[in-house]
Symmetry: C2
Subunit: 223 residues, 2 copies
């Protein structure tokens, strides 16, 4: 039977989130665990992408997953099916996780023996971008049906990410998504962010994304 815990995480009462995030990042560096903060709108395909990612990295990297949601355990259940270590975090209405809440989640999950932990953050493009979770890398998924104008409307999110996965590429023919216009809009906010088009459904681009993760885990453990 798939098993996972559900943890009700408490709102952080501490000030100084940036300092706490930096401290958590240092500890994770010492422990050689890469924490990736994965953000997106509701329904962009975060969980399906994660399931495929775990499958792609099986036998290579030991992966743990923090599933953060307001309510429900549907995502943790899906991820537990892969055999990966997973915990469901409930934020009780809060739309973000900060470093202290992430620390609670990592303690609940247990990071011993892991190479990579992915935090599937709450589904929204606003509050999540406001808080440093302590992650080494910030990744967002934007799905093709959401449209190529999203960098204009959610500039903070696009300015803080290291990588944008453009998901549901298989649906491209049905939607007016101008990839060049999208790249240009991201570029104006963020000259460093990489963009990888993927389809968690067909597998397109999943190799490039897995390769990105392998390289980042390697860098994190080495440097």
């Amino acid at each position: 039977m798939d098993s996972f815990k559900i943890l009700e995480i408490k709102e952080s009462v501490f000030k100084g989130n940036d300092e706490r995030a930096a401290a958590l990042r240092s500890e994770l560096k010492r422990d050689k665990v890469l924490l990736v903060n994965l953000m997106s709108s509701p329904g962009s395909g975060k969980t399906t992408t994660l399931v495929r990612t775990i499958e792609a990295l099986k036998g290579e990297l030991r992966v743990g997953i923090l599933e953060a949601d307001i309510d429900s355990e549907v995502d943790a259940r899906k991820v537990a099916g892969t055999g990966a270590r997973v915990i469901q975090l409930h934020t009780g209405g809060m739309c973000h996780l900060d470093a202290e809440m992430t620390r609670q989640g990592l303690a609940g999950l247990g990071i011993e023996g892991l190479d990579l932990v992915v935090l599937e953050n709450i589904g929204n493009l606003i509050c999540t971008a406001d808080f440093d979770t302590g992650a080494a890398k910030n990744v967002m998924i934007l799905s093709v049906p959401e449209g190529d104008d999203k960098p204009l409307k959610y500039p903070l999110m696009f300015s803080i990410v290291d990588l944008v996965l453009v998901n549901k590429m298989d649906a491209m023919s049905l939607f007016d998504f101008d990839m060049e216009a999208f790249r240009e809009r991201v570029r104006r906010l963020n000259t460093k962010a990489e963009i990888i088009p993927i389809s968690a459904k067909t597998g397109e681009g999943m190799g490039a994304w897995a390769e990105w993760l392998r390289a980042e885990v390697g860098n994190w453990k080495r440097a």
Copy 2:
């Protein structure tokens, strides 16, 4: 040339949002203006739906639009193309509008001579559901690509709405969206909410949605 104002709305410093929302609703009742609060995830098709809705009601109802966004004026520009009265509201990072912020927006728009005002709220399913804006009716759009499990993950939103428009029905063949399962999940949270499947692209269901608005404007002016 299409023209619209941009208003930087200020965060409300007042307590007692519920009382302020009730007071605003009473004034709008007196003025016979129906205010509809339209909520959704980013990229579910709110603006395209609004443009088509304005076209469907042309010559019948005088419509005004409050476009709320963190940043940018892309939505107001699209809506201004219809000739409807529109104002762009910038919340400066805030992920919701409360009653006082909505009042600022209505004052900026000017409601004289209007039958219906639609507030296109900030794109997210969390913070927006937490605040009564003073609207007579709460409507949300969920698009097919987002998936049928969203009521499980965003229960507050689905519990407060009077109507759910399920948009992008034209993309149904490409996504695993179980309409019966979705209806049942909404029903468990909210026995009153109506559900209308639409496609702002093909026009499917837009007649039923326009009819719903006509009826609500009629009720509001009469009762």
